[in-house]
Symmetry: C2
């Protein structure tokens, strides 16, 4: 692949060349600068970041994109550190990114502190970047999605995207990864929480972590989750709910699996990675991998267009002047919802 | 309530007065004209319909809005006819509307033929209107929502909104009714279909129709559905999935119930209506009924705004010129989704 970045301005040329180049120190600095650029809200930065992203795009897509979710306390950091070091030992280069829309409030609840992965974070073949910390979930997810492309252009061949097991961030991460893994504790009821939140049906693989603490509970949890996945998988088969850009428990080639492991003791990682590899090969061979990514890209484009349309609508001077009053009239039953919508839309003319 | 429609043009004044008046023949003709006006796509008709709707709005909201869904063959028409006649016998006035986005294709698969409810359709205290037959689900649902307001203004105190058990129309009907009832056959597996489609969790009440054909199967189905509802109800409790504008199996005051009946034999209707009445009283007393309607109205306003924004976006000349090519570039991986979204949005400036 030729690396012709000559159409870019000089600063971005240097960044792009650094990112796809083979100088570790230069690359790491270029990645950080590029991600900072694309996280900027300044319109001129945004234009430069877009040009850079597009120039790098032919260098992306070669990594396997692995989403990892689980409630606080499930041991995500320990698991990702153990997995990352295991994969590096197998010759991989591993990037770890995060989607955590709450991090601006909490001061960075995940990956805010790299010392939580103290061995992985200092390894030359690992790249760890905390969640972007501002804005809506859509905005945070967009920046992470773009940082993933930077990491892929830099040759990281496994990108792990972590998210906390709360809110809708799991749907966003499922919508930008090739495989979505849910970490669970061996507690009765923990699986029910995941079903309640609608995240279980996104899972391609469920990992019961800390299985060594209570092997009997882990075995029970595994049986429960397996049966729940079977039910939800049938749900997926028939196109209910989440669309193809996300999880697909109903893929004919892959029934979501449940594994037990202990990240702290390093037990079960080879089996985990074997399952991931089997999934990846099946998906790649069947064309489902490319299909999923295409659908994700188009869904993402429309998600961003709709977010942009909503933002423009709310920012429109006439709408801003009348939205609160109109909303109140609808709430109070003095204005029909459809009439209110048409009146507000007419303000745009 | 004063009935001052003097601010309306003469034609709409006559319609409004006819609708809220007590002359059955005049009322029926005024309702039909009003609904035809609001189904019109002509902009001048739309403005007149909006003015009429707003003038009638103070006269609406007094009916109980009951959504009924179920797959073809479950016996919806027979059930609604039996229910309608039962309610009329109790002194109610019953309007039956429908949401069926497929009706333009199929020539009206539900209620297209009033002879399917031959006794109810000719009763002076019943008003039956087939589904609007054109456009998207959102457009069809909007017209039905508005027709419901007309029926309420005309004093119908029970509005039944029927939909077929396919696609997303159930979500739309759940989002415009006070209570959503799902009709099921006493077949093993029928309940699973409803879970798969995500409609079971919208249900406030599940009715197993044709229970007399195989009482054992009906009893088994009832047990299965009850346990599924318990699981899904817990799901709802914690805010997963559908939001408050729709079903709320997780309401602390109401656990979704499962009833058996035989609409053909008229068995079980009093028990059905007793359950509906109990639900309605609990919801009204707790404030949940008003809350649900407010949330539905606001959700509906935003749904229509977003549909309008999307339609305007797609109709924008610059966007129309570039959307297909941009989409293809994103699909082919030559353009990042977020960059594509920004470029298309920038065309609006």
């Amino acid at each position: 692949m030729t690396e012709d970045f000559s159409h870019l301005p000089a600063a971005e040329q240097a960044l792009a060349a650094g990112i796809v180049g083979d100088q570790p120190t230069v690359q790491r600095r270029a990645m950080a600068k590029a991600i900072t650029l694309l996280e900027s809200t300044r319109p001129d930065h945004r234009l430069r970041a877009d040009a850079l992203l597009n120039a790098l795009l032919p260098h992306t897509g070669h990594a396997f994109r692995l989403g990892i979710s689980g409630v606080p306390g499930v041991g995500k950091s320990t698991f990702i550190e153990a997995l990352g070091l295991y994969l590096i030992g197998q010759g991989h280069r591993v990037a770890v990114l995060a989607v955590d829309p709450s991090s601006s409030v909490s001061g960075g609840s995940i990956l805010g502190d790299k010392t939580r992965m103290e061995h992985l974070s200092v390894h030359p073949n690992a790249y760890i970047r905390p969640s972007p910390s501002s804005g809506t979930l859509g905005g945070v997810a967009e920046k992470t999605r773009e940082a993933m492309l930077i990491a892929e252009a830099a040759g990281y061949d496994v990108v792990v995207i972590e998210t906390v097991g709360v809110g809708q961030s799991e749907t966003a991460v499922s919508g930008m990864t090739d495989m979505f893994c849910l970490l669970q504790l061996p507690n009765a009821g923990d699986d029910l929480q995941a079903i309640k939140k609608g995240v279980m049906e996104l899972a391609d693989l469920v990992v019961i972590n800390k299985a060594d603490i209570d092997p009997n509970a882990a075995t029970r949890a595994r049986a429960q989750i397996t049966s729940a996945l079977r039910l939800l998988g049938m749900h997926q088969h028939h196109g209910g709910g989440h669309g193809d850009a996300h999880g697909h428990g109903g893929d004919l080639l892959w029934q979501p699996q449940v594994l037990q492991l202990s990240a702290l003791k390093g037990a079960g990682l080879p089996e985990f990675w074997a399952a991931v590899t089997r999934f990846r090969e099946l998906q790649a061979a069947s064309g489902r991998l490319d299909q999923r990514r295409q659908q994700q890209s188009l869904a993402w484009m429309w998600e961003r267009i709709e977010a942009g349309l909503r933002a423009r609508f709310r920012a429109h001077p006439e709408v801003r002047g009348q939205l609160a009053d109109t909303t109140e009239q609808v709430r109070a039953g003095r204005l029909a919802a459809s009439v209110a919508a048409r009146r507000l839309l007419d303000l745009l003319n």
